[in-house]
């Protein structure tokens, strides 16, 4: 028996009264229960972006390399030359991971991989950007966070390793604001021939509509609606919304789809992600300017007695919808039987523009597809500007011994080595990880295209909390800087906007500021946004997360020899700091770790300076003189130097002199801790052979870049000499603090 539509039921479906009125007007009648479900998922934030669409229009989306723009298809596509292109995108699985970390993260990986091969691209690598609450300590929150970290990392490893797509990098950081609401953002990149981009349109009236992949079950019912609400205690009751991933089936589906696409039989292809069969049918119809009619009796099912509502809203994994050119149906049979996967012709492309779903011979759902997919209401949410953050005067901070501070910063899990994480990810499969995890950006050799790609994900949530606009700009700048340090030119961006409930005006203000910051920065760096994802309602009973607009950026290394790593290579090389010593400690990890303050004005980004610094470094790299390059980020110069000494396979020391440095402008009256740990932007530590140092000086002078000769590579200590005396850390001591911090915390037993 189907429930009667009551205002209460409408509310439970997350639809407002106005939205319900709009639905009635659109249909010219009351929707039935199944149709209500269909509208509720399609008009959820997750599928419709109803609260953010206006904002997203602010992103620059065009560029000479852009082949498929943001929003056109399942993922953007950019040209990498010689007939080759890449499709890439980032996707979040925050809420599912909060409830069931292993499966939540695993299905997140599966989902983004499907988005990529839907474009006809072979997935070649994955990245991930993770945020958790603190993992150190003997309290319930820390225990819970540790469980989340273990589960999420194992889940990503499970899916990515099994399906054979290497996870080559990412980021992970830890902060109270993510207690109970972790962020799990996953990026996938695939490669394809420019001429072979697949489309998600139901084109060709009369063409057959095929369902391929795993059978539909009751798992993941209405996950899209679930992702569009706050995380509360009741979310636990939402648990059936968690899906189980099957990377083995995912692998078969990937191979079968790519094989079928090669055969030329496919007119359109669309993955079944959020809102499953519902979303894929109405979106393909909408894109094709057609209608789609399917018969539920023909849908492969895992369970018996499923209602139309359940079948349409199920989010069972590893399923695709394929529109097949008429006369080519046999190809589907051949390919999917070869790969032992279920497939069924479930309907046809029609010309009347309706999404029509037959059940027992009659139309259970009959909705104009275009309106359903594209005409969700669009809202302009209210904004409220929060109070400015507490300002910080250095003179109010008691001086803390920098020798100890560096150790503490290195042991902070946000800075500490992530080897516990990335060793669980297969990064060597597909034999292309030229620079594996552990350097500023990952570098991957795409063998089929003979191209070297660099990739990074970045976002400093502290900056974004204190100033979302500046923080977002810096996220883009840092991503570009990481790519530049690895020898690449930045090409394009995908982003994942992780924010709180948009109905809270302060939250919406954060989002708008961040979007405008990202947009401006992407324009300046000439890296168009080719796609991304929005995840709102990231809140737990303790409050809203720090705003986290994660940036994923892809770059191209045009000559293999320009590939550069972050760690020192050779004894005797000269160490330079490009960009000056800096003095901004607002929003720094130093303030947070040593003084317990998330406060102050975060560093300012000067675009012109940043662009000049990056251009200068790329020029040096192209001349072949740079042996290592690493930017200063969290923890400032001191942490960057320590990482240069020990993030490579072999540890190697450095002798640094901060006093009497030539070219340092602001150092004279500055407290040593500020010089060591400030996070002023646009600064990069490089090492070059000593015979090249003159050239570096000349080029810097010519480009008007501030350049400081810091010292030289060598020895078994990191030594920093300043007018306050000499600080010296044995490398083993630094390494011990840094290398095992995360592993030690996570090896504890927790219930």
């Amino acid at each position: 028996m189907t429930p009667i539509i009551t205002p209460e039921l409408v509310r439970q479906h997350g639809l407002s009264e106005e939205e319900f009125e709009r639905i009635k007007a659109l249909l010219g009648r009351e929707p039935n229960f199944t149709e209500l479900g269909v509208f509720s998922v399609m008009w959820s934030e997750h599928c419709s972006y109803k609260n953010t669409r206006r904002e997203l229009r602010k992103f620059p989306t065009t560029g000479s390399r852009v082949l498929v723009k943001a929003g056109e298809e399942n993922a953007g596509v950019i040209d990498i030359g010689d007939g080759w292109a890449v499709a890439f995108k980032m996707e979040s699985h925050n809420h599912p991971s909060a409830v069931e970390p292993f499966q939540g993260a695993a299905t997140g990986v599966g989902g983004i991989i499907r988005d990529i091969f839907t474009m006809g691209a072979r997935p070649v690598f994955l990245m991930n950007s993770l945020r958790f609450g603190p993992i150190h300590g003997d309290n319930d929150a820390a225990r819970k966070n540790r469980k989340l970290v273990r589960g999420v990392v194992a889940g990503i490893a499970h899916y990515g390793n099994c399906i054979g797509v290497p996870t080559i990098g990412g980021e992970i950081s830890f902060d109270d604001s993510y207690n109970g609401n972790p962020l799990v953002n996953v990026l996938c990149l695939g490669v394809l021939k420019k001429a072979e981009i697949a489309r998600g349109a139901a084109s060709g009236v009369g063409n057959a509509v095929f369902y391929v992949g795993s059978e539909t079950g009751r798992d993941g019912l209405a996950g899209a609606a679930f992702a569009s609400r706050d995380l509360t205690e009741e979310s636990k009751a939402d648990r059936p919304a968690v899906q189980v991933g099957d990377p083995f089936r995912g692998k078969l589906l990937l191979e079968a789809c790519l094989e079928l696409l090669q055969s030329g039989a496919v007119a359109g292809i669309q993955d079944m992600g959020a809102a499953g069969l519902t979303c894929s049918t109405c979106e393909t119809a909408s894109r094709g300017g057609t209608g789609v009619q399917i018969d539920l009796a023909l849908v492969p099912k895992r369970e018996t007695g499923m209602s139309p509502y359940e079948i349409l809203l199920s989010e069972s994994q590893e399923r695709m919808l394929i529109i097949v050119r008429s006369g080519e149906e046999e190809r589907v049979k051949e390919v999917f039987e070869k790969w032992d996967l279920p497939y069924a012709k479930v309907g046809i492309v029609t010309e009347d523009g309706f999404m029509r779903v037959l059940n027992d011979g009659s139309a259970e759902v009959e909705i104009p597809a275009k309106q359903l997919a594209d005409d969700a209401p669009v809202y302009e949410r209210e904004v409220a500007i929060p109070a400015a953050p507490e300002t910080i005067a250095v003179s109010d901070l008691a001086f803390h011994d920098p020798k100890d501070s560096l150790i503490k910063l290195l042991a902070h899990p946000t800075v500490a080595s992530k080897n516990w994480v990335f060793r669980q990810y297969d990064h060597t499969v597909r034999a292309g990880a030229v620079v594996p995890p552990g350097s500023d950006a990952a570098v991957f050799y795409v063998r089929e295209a003979d191209k070297f790609l660099a990739a990074t994900t970045d976002c400093n949530h502290l900056y974004c909390r204190l100033d979302p606009r500046e923080g977002a700009k810096i996220a883009v700048a840092e991503a570009a800087r990481n790519l530049t340090c690895s020898g690449a030119i930045p090409l394009a961006v995908t982003d994942n906007l992780n924010f709180g409930n948009p109905y809270r005006p302060e939250n919406f203000w954060q989002l708008r500021e961040a979007v405008e910051g990202l947009a401006e920065a992407c324009r300046r760096f000439e890296t168009p946004v080719t796609g991304g994802n929005v995840s709102l309602y990231n809140e737990s009973p303790q409050g809203t997360i720090d705003p986290t607009p994660t940036v994923g950026m892809i770059g191209l290394i045009e000559d293999e020899r320009w590939t550069t790593r972050q760690y020192f290579q050779i004894q005797g090389d000269v160490i330079f700091l490009i960009g000056g010593v800096g003095d901004e400690i607002g929003g720094s990890l130093y303030l947070k770790t040593i003084y317990g303050k998330k406060a102050g004005l975060p560093p300012r980004l000067n675009f012109d300076r940043e662009l000049a610094v990056q251009k200068f470094l790329r020029g040096l790299i192209r001349k072949g003189v740079v042996k290592s390059a690493h930017d200063c980020s969290e923890g400032g110069l001191a942490v960057a130097l320590a990482e240069c000494c020990m993030s490579g396979a072999e540890k190697i020391g450095a002798q640094i002199r901060l006093s009497g440095m030539s070219g340092s402008s602001s150092l004279a009256n500055q407290r040593l801790d500020v010089s060591l740990f400030n996070e002023s932007q646009s600064r990069i530590v490089v090492s070059v052979p000593s015979q090249e140092s003159e050239l570096v000086h000349q080029d810097a002078a010519q480009a008007g870049i501030e350049l400081i000769r810091l010292g030289s590579v060598g020895g078994s200590e990191l030594t920093i000499e300043s007018s306050d005396g000499t600080l010296s850390w044995p490398l083993d001591q630094l390494h011990e603090a840094w290398y095992s911090s995360i592993a030690l915390a996570l090896s504890q037993q927790d219930l």
Binding site: N161, C162, K251, W339, H427, T428, V429, A431, A433, Y445
Partner: protein
């Protein structure tokens, strides 16, 4: 001369193996589908890594019963070189072509990292171009790579020279720290008594190109090709 790279559903190093042979060495290699019942026309077989049949139940367990494996078993028993890498090694153990089993890493975690290996037997078709004692660098990437066999089997393997590769440190010592997964006797690879069947957990198929930081793996494929050529000659 033609080398078969078997593709099981869930294989994911099939392409890496094929490319090591075709791009790395310029020899002829082709995929063979798991449903094939014959490997006629091939001179050697590579069982690549991955997660055959999802590695559900036990790594390699279901693959061992696939149609193609029945002909690989026959060919191996009549002397054809068969090389199982990672999941391929697990499959060889499951079929009984190699002794012992591969169980969960002692850390219980999947591990992807470079390791050092010491060559202990250069009398196999895969190792004849190197000296015993040579150190190889290759990555491992597995969750269930700890080699296990009972005492008696271990003794027989050691005495019969069937331990081909061992995990060692930079100095060539098979220490406990150099053992990434808890393998007994630091065993990374073994062969059958005749030497024509080799199983190896680390990945030569990911270390055959200078871009990957090590070309040591290429040596194994080169040896195989030389062997096949010398037989043909």
């Amino acid at each position: 001369m033609k080398i078969a790279v078997v593709r099981f559903p869930g294989s994911n190093c099939d392409q890496d193996c094929l490319r090591a042979l075709t791009d790395g060495l310029g020899v002829k290699a082709e995929y063979v589908w798991h449903k094939e019942t014959s490997i006629a026309g091939f001179d050697a077989v590579i069982l690549p890594g991955g997660f055959s049949y999802g590695d559900y139940l036990r790594c390699g367990a279901i693959a061992a019963f696939s149609p193609v494996m029945q002909s690989v078993i026959k060919a191996a028993n009549s002397g054809m070189p068969v090389f199982g890498i990672c999941n391929g090694f697990q499959i060889l153990c499951e079929t009984g072509l190699l002794r012992g089993a591969l169980i969960r890493n002692r850390s219980l975690l999947f591990l992807c990292q470079p390791v050092c290996l010491k060559l202990e037997n250069n009398r196999t078709p895969f190792t004849r171009l190197s000296d015993e004692g040579a150190i190889f660098r290759m990555p491992i990437a597995h969750g269930e790579g700890a080699y296990y066999a009972d005492e008696q089997t271990l003794e027989e393997l050691e005495e019969g020279g069937q331990v081909v590769f061992r995990y060692v440190n930079e100095d060539g010592q098979p220490t406990s720290e150099a053992n990434p997964n808890g393998s007994r006797n630091n065993i990374a690879g073994i062969c059958n008594p005749a030497g024509n069947v080799l199983g190896l957990m680390p990945h030569p198929d990911r270390s055959w190109d200078h871009r990957l930081g090590s070309e040591d793996g290429l040596q194994l494929f080169k040896s195989l090709v030389e062997t096949l050529l010398s037989v043909a000659a």
